[in-house]
């Protein structure tokens, strides 16, 4: 059982217009086996939270803490965080020139485990996982994300989730841009991994649609860099009906 603990996190970015605060005191605890949904309107800081946990250099932590089983995540480099068990399924996975998926997956797995995976099992695992996510076998020989459609990129993110088996998965708007079929396939992948009982999931989404396939235990509503309200799955249903208006109106007032 692991715990990812975020305490009073303040994060800003430097822009041409100066320093802009984005997260203004976020506190959140996720345990193994739990699924937390973070919902909120555009610009509320959801994705900033995801990128900050993963260690993207653009985001500056002004105060607060993130710990994984008591270890200080903020003092770790990006790759150390991944090796500690954090996985970010990115909203916009980048294309990496010159590196085939096969090579990339094996290199990452080796780095994460500290030893090369047994070739026979690994090849089989990759094939099986790709088939389950309905990713064409020939993707293995293509360069990472190069020429992949938006939906294909998201499936490949979940492929990595299933192969790398992190302690905590942070899904940054994995559902955006997916049609219903792709959404189902991707959700099944997350559920498959989650159901093994060894992973906590932080699901960041703008829409309630994905929550029909991935059932959250907790729902947090993000507005203007803070958690404005939290509750159980019923909160998502309410958002489905009412939208974010009542939250954003409150902020503007």
């Amino acid at each position: 059982m692991s715990t990812l603990e975020i305490k009073d996190l303040h994060v800003s970015i430097d822009t041409d217009q100066g320093n802009i605060p984005i997260l203004k005191g976020v506190t959140l605890t996720i345990n193994t086996g739990e699924t937390h949904a973070i919902m909120g309107p555009n610009g509320s800081g959801k994705s900033t939270l995801a990128s900050t946990i993963a260690g993207h250099p653009r985001y500056k932590v002004d105060s607060g803490s993130i710990t994984l089983d008591g270890e200080d995540v903020l003092s770790m480099s990006v790759d150390e965080r991944a090796r500690a068990g954090l996985f970010l399924a990115m909203q916009y996975p980048v294309e990496v020139p010159g590196v085939t998926m096969t090579n990339f997956l094996r290199t990452a797995k080796t780095a994460l485990d500290g030893e090369a995976p047994s070739l026979r099992h690994w090849t089989k695992d990759v094939k099986t996982a790709m088939a389950q996510l309905r990713i064409d076998a020939d993707f293995a020989q293509r360069n990472v994300n190069e020429g992949f459609s938006g939906g294909e990129k998201k499936r490949v993110e979940i492929l990595q989730l299933e192969l790398f088996r992190p302690k905590f998965a942070i899904l940054d708007e994995t559902d955006s841009g997916l049609d219903v079929d792709a959404l189902k396939v991707v959700s099944e992948g997350v559920n498959r991994e989650h159901s093994k009982g060894e992973m906590g999931t932080l699901l960041i989404t703008h829409y309630t649609r994905i929550l029909r396939y991935i059932k959250p235990d907790f729902v947090h509503v993000f507005v203007a860099g803070r958690i404005a309200e939290q509750g159980g799955p019923e909160l998502a249903d309410r958002l489905e009906e009412e939208g974010y208006d009542r939250f954003t109106a409150a902020v503007e007032a």
């Binding site: 993963a54 260690g55 993207h56 250099p57 480099s77 990006v78 790759d79 965080r81 991944a82 090796r83 996985f87 970010l88 990115m90 996975p93 980048v94 294309e95 990496v96 020139p97 010159g98 590196v99 085939t100 090579n103 990339f104 290199t107 990452a108 780095a111 994460l112 360069n143 990472v144 990595q160 790398f164």
Partner: protein
């Protein structure tokens, strides 16, 4: 990869021409300034730095302030001067279109001096059924495939004492890779001549393996006979101080298959001008290049594919990596589709990966089309940085920074190495690339 195009790219970089219905009979992409519809300040080789170009009177611009040379811009790449007579090529000033990227000061006299130094030793091994001769410069076969196109090449033609002639006899499949070791041990400006003749329906791989220290002007003539299949690999793994200027012209016969692979890793200044000239129909040419420039290195390649006859196909793929202060690479790819060359199918690509600050990559694809009746013609050029987003993505999967950088560069360059198809050489060059990466602290 971030498709940031760096410098010197003609207006139609990433251009692709498939439908030529609307083009004039002699339409030119990247046309020289002075021609209609040109972009001010650009010539067919990109931004004009040449004194041979007065610029356009558009926007009230006067001719360039440097130099008053008579304006005779090359109207077509096909009209570039070709001659065995050194006197036909004026002394170089560095402002000529085809020399403007080359630091003449670092040529160590190749363009000015008599090339009387000792030529690097040539040793040919690897195939028993291939004829290797050392011949006098009066041998009638020399100069039949190639005519010098620039001053250094003409100087080399006039200075070499004896030449190496490698002949793959008619209908012969070479029983091994022909390894031509060219080993330099002195630095006096020298000339060298090599002729490779793959006779009709023969098949061979010839590797020119350049190592050691030289100041060398070299002409490599290549004849690919009718129906022959020839691969020529030119590897430049010179010592750090070497200066190497090499013209590698191939005449490609009917239904022939010619593959040319350049791998430039070592040397202070390496300038290659590989060309493929189709002389009969049905032939296919592939030209590949890999170059990896470190701090201070100048690696230049200027290609020509001359589609002079119908129904030939060409593909050009050059990839370069750069790291360190003043690492400089130049790639100029000229493709000429002459009026007679109906049914031509051509595409050329150049990609550069800049790994550190302080490096410079020039990439200039040129496509000149004199007939619309072709299968396809296009080119692409992209020069990008290995940027923070790539790094973040790979590191977010647990891969340490150093490994992530190597993963990308290795992958980027492997495509070209894989084209060589000589396993022992592929292995050696992969190891060399690894050493380059290690040297650059990547």
């Amino acid at each position: 990869m971030a498709e940031t195009t760096h410098t010197e790219i003609s207006p139609d970089t990433e251009g692709e021409v498939t439908d030529l219905g609307d083009l004039d009979e002699k339409a030119r992409l990247g046309a020289p300034s002075g021609a209609a519809a040109s972009i001010d300040g650009f010539t067919e080789e990109g931004e004009s730095l040449s004194a041979d170009d007065q610029g356009s009177e558009q926007l009230g611009l006067k001719k360039h302030s440097h130099g008053n040379a008579p304006v005779v811009p090359e109207a077509s790449r096909g009209e570039r001067r070709r001659s065995f007579d050194l006197a036909d090529f004026p002394s170089l000033t560095g402002l000529e279109e085809d020399w403007r990227f080359t630091p003449l000061k670092r040529l160590r006299g190749l363009h000015t001096d008599a090339l009387t130094g000792t030529a690097p030793a040539v040793n040919v091994t690897g195939a028993g059924n291939v004829t290797v001769e050392t011949v006098d410069r009066s041998d009638a076969r020399l100069g039949t495939a190639a005519t010098p196109e620039d001053r250094v090449s003409a100087a080399a033609w006039n200075a070499f004492s004896d030449a190496t002639v490698i002949t793959i006899p008619k209908e012969t499949v070479a029983d091994g890779e022909v390894m031509v070791s060219v080993t330099g041990s002195t630095s006096g400006a020298a000339a060298q001549h090599i002729l490779i003749h793959a006779e009709a329906f023969s098949k061979a791989v010839v590797v020119l393996d350049h190592t050691g220290s030289v100041t060398l002007a070299q002409n490599v003539e290549i004849i690919v006979g009718d129906g022959a299949e020839l691969t020529v690999v030119s590897v430049q793994e010179w010592d750090d101080d070497a200066v190497h200027v090499s013209s590698q012209q191939a005449k490609v016969g009917r239904d022939a298959r010619y593959k040319h692979v350049v791998v430039s890793l070592g040397g202070d200044l390496v300038r290659l001008t590989p060309s493929s000239i189709f002389t009969a129909t049905g032939a296919e040419v592939e030209m590949y290049g890999l170059y990896f420039a470190d701090a201070g290195q100048h690696l230049e390649q200027r290609l020509l594919v001359d589609h002079a006859v119908p129904n030939c196909k060409s593909r050009v793929t050059y990839k370069g990596a750069l790291q360190g202060d003043d690492a400089h690479t130049v790639w100029v790819g000229d493709v000429l589709i002459r009026k007679a060359a109906e049914g031509t199918d051509t595409y050329e690509t150049n990609r550069n990966l800049i790994l550190t600050d302080g490096a410079r990559s020039d990439s200039v694809p040129n496509l000149e089309i004199e007939t619309g009746l072709i299968e396809g013609a296009g080119h692409a050029s992209a020069t990008g940085r290995f940027d923070d987003e790539h790094l973040f993505y790979l590191m977010a999967r647990g891969i340490p920074e150093k490994d992530a950088r190597r993963l990308v560069v290795r992958g980027f360059l492997t495509e070209v190495i894989q084209q060589i198809k000589v396993p022992s050489l592929e292995e050696r060059l992969s190891a060399s690339v690894e050493r380059e990466l290690a040297a650059g602290n990547l």
